[in-house]
Every structure is written in structure tokens, then in C-alpha cells.
Amino acid sequence: MANLKELSKNPEKVTGGHRLCAGCGAGIVIRQAMIAAGNTPVVTVSATGCMEVSTTIYPFSAWKNSFFHSAFENAAATASGIESAYKSLNKQGKIKEDFRFITFGGDGGTYDIGLQSLSGAMERGHRMLYICYNNEAYMNTGIQRSSATPKGADTTTAPAGKVKQGKEQNKKDLTQLMAAHNIPYVAQSYMGNWNDFITKVQKALATDGPSFINILTPCRLGWNYKPEETMNIGRLAMETCLWPSYEIENGVYTINAFPKEKKPVTEFLKPQGRFKHLFKPENAPILEAIQKEVDLRWEILQRRAELGKEKKPA
């Protein structure tokens, strides 16, 4: 459990002046993650993406710690190299500080083009925290669908039209895919609850091994909502159980946030322009299908967490 009065004493490692959109969720993710890291020396790595380009437009960099980017599909492999260099130089006594490595990727760089690199790095066991700031589409190139894009969302490569109603497939469950690597720490977090996210980042950084956090990160441009709503939309994702907050520690599941009452998914979908077409009367079956899918996933997660309660050491 983090404490804002304490956290606020930590150094600010991301400066203002970056070129992310007003109200961008990714800006909040990187800032909170770096505040969570506190005084620990960190090298940050990023996949190509909105966040990477917006924070490092030459000759400016919003990063106060060392930051490295090489390409799109290889953030985890890139971080592997840095972590291995650290291990080697640390063993030789050439680097004495206790470093941590945080890698950021959007859903494009994580779910899709960077999945192989991520899988490889997790399997090899590099001590790094990989954070996917998942805004559910390729935002940097202009809102194209990804495998993280939810069913029904209007994107520029799976647009809503006369015969199609946005993306026709369900999103990939990457958190589960990462869990299947049996790494020590996997978590899902959401925007609008700094404590949930920061606590997870701190846990992950304390984990001796690879860790992965998938944070649903509203994109005011691609999701088409008012910029001040970023946190609120994030909370609605949790409250509708569409994006539950949970963690998997050495295989044991814990749900970290329960809504006071489970809201219908339409409350999450309604404020977002990308789902506007779903509210036409003829698209009611799509809304039903989305609700059904959410209910099923939530049920499965709760059962996994039940098992977790039994397995958790007292």
C-alpha cells in the first residue's frame, strides 16, 4: 500500500514538456511508474510508440534517468541486453549500484509485433519489469486495430461501416499469456487508481525475476472522449469488470479491486466515441455479446482467485 505523502518525496523522473496529448493516459503511466521506483537507479527501455516519440523529440528528452529505445518489436530483447550488461559489469565490480530495468511498450509493441521478443525475455528470466500501457489500438500511427482492440471498437483498420460494426474479434488475453510463462509476478492494473498501479510496480520491482504489468490506458484521441475523463474511464473499466485488477504471484491469483456493484459494460462503452455505433438499435446483439464475454471472463477470474485463497500461505 503506497502513501502519497511518502511518494511525493520521491524524485520526479519524467519532466513536463513532452509532446503526449493533453490528458494522455500513457503520460500518467510512465510518471507514476517512475515515481514508484523512487531513488532506485533505473534504466528505462521503450518500444517505438506514442510515448517513446513524444517524450524524446530531439534535442529534448523528458527522461531524467537513462532511457533507451532501439526499435518497435524488440523492447524486451533490448532490455535483456542492458540487464545482461549490468549483470556482467556488476559481477566484475565495474557497476556497483543496484539497478532496476523498466520496459514500456504499447499494445502494438507488446501484444503484437513485440510478442516474440517479450516471450523470449520472460522465459530467459531477465530481471526486468515490462509494463504494457495498453490503449487497445495502434495509436501512434493513427488508431489502427490491434489484437488488444476489443470487439466492436471503431478503429481505422477495422472501422464501423455499412456492413461491419468495428472489430469483429475479441481481444487477446495477454495477461494470461504472460501468466503462462510462469514468471514470478504478473498483474493487471487500471487507470484512476494510482495506489493499485504504484503498489504493483513496487511489488514487481522487488521481484527477483521477470515481471509484467498490463495497465489499461485510456487514449483520449483513439477512444474519443473528453480529456479530463481519462481516470474515470479507467475506473469504469474496473467497475464493469471488463478490465479487472488482479495479480498472479508465483501462480497464485488475487483480485485487487472489487466494484461496489458490478456495472453493466455499457457504462464503460457509452462515453467513448469508438463504441458510438454500438448503441444503434440494430447493434444490440453486439452489446449483449460483449457483456456475455465480460461475465464469463470475470467468473473464470473469480474462480481462479478462489483457488488462490486456498493456496495462499497464511
Binding site: 511525493s8 518525496k9 509532446r19 537513462s66 494510482w194
Partner: protein, 104 residues
């Protein structure tokens, strides 16, 4: 190095490999992006720091107070883009932040 200074170094002057010194981003001002500006009311503020942790642009200015610990001291208008998250997230009972149209 500020953008408006329009400094353009030559290949002979620039560091190789496109290396950029850390934290130079602060010199770039995004304040001109605002159409609305957050206005902070010191008297109403309870220093819960919700606005500080929620800001995507590191634009809530804080200071250390001996008794209260970290306190909010204002808005960094050089970098604030006017997204309104701070005002939206400020607890409704406190309402120490509100948005006003930026005077052009």
C-alpha cells in the same frame, strides 16, 4: 535549449549517435497548447496530492512544509496542457481546482 531560440547545431557540434542529455525536455514549453486552464484555490486545497499524482505532465508544483509534508503550491503553466484531469480528480467536497477558458 529552448525551441524558440532556434538553435541548430552542426554535425561537427552535435553529440554522436543522437545522444540527448537527460531531462532536457523541461525546456520545451507545452503551455501554449491550453484552451482551458486549471485554477487552483489555495484556501480550499487539503494537500491530498491526488492532482499531483494524476497529472500526465508533471505540472502540479509542490513544496515541502515542515508540518504538512508535501503541499501543493500551484500550477506549472509552462507545461500544463489544460487537460482538466486535476480538476476532475480533485475530491468534489474539496473542489480546490476548476477550469477556466484560456484568455487568448
Amino acid at each position: 535549449m529552448k525551441k524558440d531560440e532556434n538553435v541548430k547545431l552542426t554535425a561537427a557540434q552535435l553529440a554522436i549517435g543522437g545522444l540527448v542529455e537527460a531531462g532536457t525536455g523541461e525546456a520545451f514549453h507545452t503551455g501554449s497548447w491550453r484552451s482551458d486552464r486549471p485554477v487552483w484555490n489555495k484556501d480550499k486545497c487539503i494537500n491530498c496530492l491526488t492532482c499531483w499524482i494524476s497529472c500526465p505532465d508533471s505540472a502540479i508544483k509542490t513544496a515541502q512544509d515542515e508540518k504538512k509534508g508535501t503541499v501543493v503550491v500551484g500550477i506549472d503553466y509552462d507545461h500544463c496542457k489544460g487537460c482538466g484531469i486535476c480538476a476532475r480528480e480533485c475530491p468534489p467536497k474539496v473542489a480546490a481546482l476548476h477550469m477556466e477558458a484560456e484568455k487568448k
